[in-house]
Symmetry: C2
Subunit: 194 residues, 2 copies
Amino acid sequence: MPDSTRTLKIFFATNNIHKYNEVNAIFKQHTFFQLKFLKTPLVEIQSSNLEEIAIFSLKKCSRIIKNTPIFVEDSGLFIKHLNGFPGPYSAYIFKTIGLKGIIALMKEIEDREAYFQSSIALKIENKINIFTGQVRGQIAQDISDTGWGYDPIFIPESDGIHTFGELGIKKNFISHRFLATLKLIKFLNKYSAD
Amino acid sequence: MPDSTRTLKIFFATNNIHKYNEVNAIFKQHTFFQLKFLKTPLVEIQSSNLEEIAIFSLKKCSRIIKNTPIFVEDSGLFIKHLNGFPGPYSAYIFKTIGLKGIIALMKEIEDREAYFQSSIALKIENKINIFTGQVRGQIAQDISDTGWGYDPIFIPESDGIHTFGELGIKKNFISHRFLATLKLIKFLNKYSAD
């Protein structure tokens, strides 16, 4: 971990305060970097590749930021039987057909394999670095009562019984976003220690 | 119609030769503008607004074009019961869940109202103009044997029985893309006559 007496700031550009809070909790435990919330609507391109989307968004929103590292995060649920759907359009598809739609599309489907992915694009000293976290699991047969987004229908492999939604706060320490954030922090700590 | 002795060129930037051919057939009938195929993958942003997507794509791809008008086109199928889904992500959703997926989502749904929209963004003399065409209709109960894209499941209001797919070449003269293209041509002809 780097010298705590130095002030190390980093921007997280996002429009989603929940994401910021989730990532900030991990930062507080693992690094002296201070996470700043840069509230901004991101420009996201249409692509089936989360990393490509994150890099494009980062380039757009980092134009006005000098000398301070900045990152963005993009995530999605990829269902094998549906060829990766809803994937990078998870937010839009959640708003339109919702969890009920996903359950309808998966009705009587045996192969329920899916994964969540989080991709972080970081700009530091004019270089872009990518950190990705994935969690494998299954699409549940029913929607659980707790959790937000796709959490009520995703059962992580490591648990095998409960959905992300049912795992509550525990989810935040096994999630795809947690894994990507840890990679980012590891890089930052090493970087600042050099 | 403008003076046929003048050479009037216009670029259609698209990656889709079928779209080019469809639009070119309309150009040949209605204007002396020569349609040039500018084959290019478009950068499309994530937005629920087709016009916004078209304007962004146009700005990106028109940077290198000087003195010649250029346009892009974006289209989608919007299903009322599904809150506009698949909408601007029609291409991605077609590739992943396909027509079978749409039919599954609409199973036992009474309200089958939908519309196709085509939005054209034109840049001429450094100004951007938008032309939009819409066709209202219904989602069929089954997938028809003929047609591409979403055509085999969309029954236009003006017909009420056959899908776009079953209408064959006739579709091209009542479609959303036809209506948007006619508006574009009307504007161009008036413009060049001034």
